[in-house]
């Protein structure tokens, strides 16, 4: 084997100026931190929006002074109108689904870790990478800008169903410029995601270091790689969907607006369009989107677990990876299950119901891999593992709700209730958030060179874990009684007795939010004052732990790594780096 020698010491100097180093940086590590920070800010905004909604649901006449200041029309005197409730709901969904759940576990950690995990110095296209982040940033600013225009944010939900989203300001407050900005923001997000996915795929295929076969890649790299393919195909369809929506709104076309439609006593000058077409196009993106959110979580958890259970996952890299590939592939043929009650042909409902039930098979296989791997393991209950286990728990709980929703007969009853809201918060919202936290606690030492406080981490986990169950199990139960989603108040007689449950959820949600302050304090304090992190604090085996914390500009200080075996070389307390030539333990 030819090891290159003296030449390797030659380096390009890293950029020195503040702007090139930290703002318009082409370094994947800086871009990863930028994405993570953006997501953290977005998550905070999204969480505050959910508080405002929950307070209104529990105490409909409560004054929230900041809302009155933010939108004199939407919340006169601080009491929100039903329309403004929908605006907050729309922006909560949009910000959380796109700018938090899609961005953090994939673009945030993926950018930072993927090139290091394959032994590369940077992404394949570093400038394109920088462009991805800044386009995302502009998209985020546009989404936030909707709060500050006179009409406020759109009220058509994060799914922006036509014709409500397509006819313009006549449809209600926020449906004028609010919805235009929304469309532009999401179109930009699509472009950024497409560029990012392209970069991830090319980096994984092209920049792997010597010996890094596909079969030896870190499981998180695998998940990001699979996920990049799913994003590449899904966002390529959301982009034209946004464009057609904008054409309907601004150029007078009727793709999504049927004839004879009356809004606010005004006959709309459109004919022949189809709201179902919008739903088909949107959900062709939208269903893969929930897997785009959850696949990186699969990867992060599969990557973290072997380190803390000190043994390989059951089935090695193959079973979990093929399960992820199956999930990613099947995610493109199940979109119609969002449309069982949309007026689609009942035969089509059957066609989409069957693959929806099938997709549970690889999901269950993944869950069984994680659970069975715990058997007989010498488990270290550090915070990253707690969050991984929390992820598994939430994913199972959410997944069980999925069985009822996958079948048209039960879905017809449950579809418009808060059962669905609880379901997707469990299965893709909070489980992805928990995996993101697992990744944060796991990789923080590598990203910032400091250790987080373990006691505060555990406290944060237990409060979050209990809080999440209090809020969302209650939400699913109220949904089973028929509590209608998207209502800003309990107006129907049968819903009024649910008020105590609603207040319980609101209080739990506020406490759950307050628990996040522990996380924020821990992260900020540890960033500056935490104990210095060693190179490999967890005794892990993948390449990111084979360099300093944080890694140098070129990731490995000019060393060329050679990989000899897969990532799961664990045997109790013993473990072997992927770069160690002669493994003394049998792993995969």
């Amino acid at each position: 084997m030819a090891e290159t020698t003296a030449h390797a010491a030659v380096h390009h100097a890293p950029p020195q100026g503040f702007i090139r180093k930290y703002i318009f940086s082409i370094d994947h590590k800086v871009i990863g931190i930028q994405y993570t920070t953006l997501s953290l800010v977005a998550a905070f905004i999204g969480m505050v929006l959910s508080w405002a909604m929950r307070i209104h649901l529990a105490w409909p006449n409560a004054h929230i002074p900041i809302l009155g200041w933010l939108s004199p029309n939407g919340a006169p005197g601080g009491v929100m109108t039903p329309e403004y409730y929908l605006s907050l709901m729309t922006m909560h969904g949009t910000i959380m689904a796109f700018f938090v759940l899609t961005a953090a576990p994939m673009a945030g950690y993926g950018n930072f870790m993927l090139p290091i995990q394959v032994g590369a110095a940077d992404m394949a296209f570093p400038r394109l990478n920088m462009a991805s982040f800044w386009v995302t940033f502009i998209g985020f600013l546009l989404a936030c800008a909707t709060f500050f225009i006179p009409d406020g944010p759109p009220l058509s939900g994060w799914t922006a169903y036509a014709p409500l989203s397509a006819v313009g300001s006549v449809a209600g407050p926020g449906q004028g410029w609010g919805q235009n900005l929304w469309g532009l923001s999401i179109a930009l997000f699509c472009v950024a995601s497409l560029l990012g996915s392209l970069n991830f795929i090319v980096t994984t295929l092209d920049l792997r270091t010597k010996g890094m076969k596909l079969s030896r890649m870190a499981l998180s790299t695998w998940a990001w790689f699979i996920n990049a393919w799913v994003s590449l195909l899904a966002f390529a369809v959301l982009l034209p969907t946004c464009l057609l929506l904008v054409l309907d709104r601004l150029a007078g076309t009727s793709f999504f607006i049927p004839g004879g439609l009356v809004f606010n006593d005004q006959l709309q000058p459109h004919s022949g369009g189809s709201p179902l077409l919008f739903q088909h196009l949107f959900w062709f993106f939208g269903h893969p989107e929930v897997y785009i959110i959850i696949l990186p979580a699969f990867g992060i958890v599969s990557h973290i677990m072997p380190t803390f259970i000190r043994k390989p996952l059951v089935g090695g890299w193959k079973v979990i990876t093929f399960a992820e590939i199956a999930v990613g592939t099947l995610s493109f043929v199940v979109w119609g299950h969002h449309m069982f009650v949309s007026g689609m042909s009942p035969y089509m409902a059957m066609v989409f119901s069957v693959p929806t039930l099938f997709i549970t098979i690889p999901s269950v296989i993944a869950v069984l891999v994680w659970v069975f791997s715990l058997y007989g393991a010498n488990i270290r209950f550090d915070t990253p593992l707690l969050y991984s286990l929390g992820f598994i728990s939430l994913f199972i709980t959410g997944g069980i709700g999925g069985f009822f929703l996958a079948q048209p007969s039960t879905d017809s009853y449950l579809h418009a209730t808060s059962f669905v809201v609880g379901h997707f918060h469990f299965t893709m919202g909070l489980s992805a958030i928990f995996a993101t936290f697992a990744g944060f606690y796991y990789w923080f030492p590598k990203m910032f060179g400091r250790m987080l406080n373990e006691k505060l981490g555990k406290l944060h986990f237990w409060l979050s874990f209990i809080g999440v169950y209090c809020v969302f199990i209650t939400m699913q139960l109220t949904g089973m009684t028929g509590a209608v989603r998207r209502y800003s108040a309990l107006v129907d007689d049968f819903m009024v007795p649910l008020l105590p449950a609603y207040r319980f959820m609101t209080i739990a949600a506020l406490l759950l939010g307050a628990a996040q302050l522990i996380f924020l304090y821990n992260a900020i304090w540890s960033r500056f004052k935490g104990p210095k992190a060693p190179d490999n604090p967890w005794g892990a085996t993948t390449l990111e732990w084979d360099t300093t914390s944080p890694p140098p500009f070129d990731n490995f200080g000019g060393r060329q790594l050679i990989v000899y075996h897969g990532p799961m070389q664990y045997d109790g307390e013993k473990s072997e780096m992927q770069t160690s030539p002669a493994p003394s333990i049998a792993g995969t």
Partner: protein
């Protein structure tokens, strides 16, 4: 930018290595595909999905419309056939340019690239002439002068507009590649990658022409 150079292996033998963006050295993998080329393939896959979504919307609108209308007469079809011939020829000239660049025949490559750009520009001009004619006849994104479905204009202009944007972008990109190639900043790999894009745009037209023109001929 990556480039390969010779280094000395531990046993003293020379070995070809790849110098990476940040100065890292790696052994050249004979199976590694050029990253620009791979990136272009990935882009093409994604862009194909975007076109597919537009064409799906067109099919959905068309099937759903009680009266669709087929406005294209002989002159439009002839115009379309000429456009198709022009675009197909431009794929051939692009092939010749890539072949010339691969054999380091720089002058010949530049000539063929020029011919490709010229054919692309002719295609765009013919296409715009068709658009102007339709607009003169009263077709709009939201209006059908023959009384059929208003979606005809919406789908025709958006699908062909998206394709036209790709052609114009392609011509501009080819101009940049030709300039860089002429100055020695770009190599034959860049020409080949630009060629991949160009053939893709050509291939898309092979779907757009029958679906948007031939199916709408009366």
């Amino acid at each position: 930018m990556d480039h390969s150079e010779l280094a000395v292996a531990q046993d003293g033998a020379p070995v070809e290595v790849l110098r990476r963006e940040h100065g890292v050295l790696m052994e050249v993998d004979p199976y590694r595909i050029d990253k620009k080329k791979l990136g272009m393939w990935i882009f093409i896959i994604s862009d194909a999905c975007t076109f597919a979504a537009f064409l799906f919307a067109y099919g959905y609108m068309r099937i759903g419309a009680p009266v669709w209308g087929t406005p294209f007469g002989l002159s439009s079809i002839v115009n379309g056939v000429v456009m198709t011939a022009v675009l197909l020829s431009s794929s051939l000239t692009m092939l010749a340019a890539v072949r010339a660049a691969q054999t380091d025949n720089k002058n010949s490559a530049k000539k063929w690239l020029g011919a490709t750009m010229l054919l692309g520009a002719i295609f765009a001009a013919l296409h715009l002439r068709e658009w102007v004619r339709l607009i003169d006849e009263g077709w709009r994104l939201f209006y059908n002068p023959t009384g059929g479905a208003a979606q005809f204009g919406a789908t025709f202009f958006s699908v062909t507009g998206l394709h036209l944007t790709h052609v114009v972008t392609g011509v501009i990109a080819l101009a940049f590649v030709t300039r860089g190639y002429n100055q020695g900043r770009y190599d034959q790999g860049h020409v080949e990658t630009a060629g991949l894009y160009w053939h893709f745009v050509d291939l898309v037209w092979m779907f757009v022409f029958p679906l948007m023109y031939l199916m709408n001929a009366h």
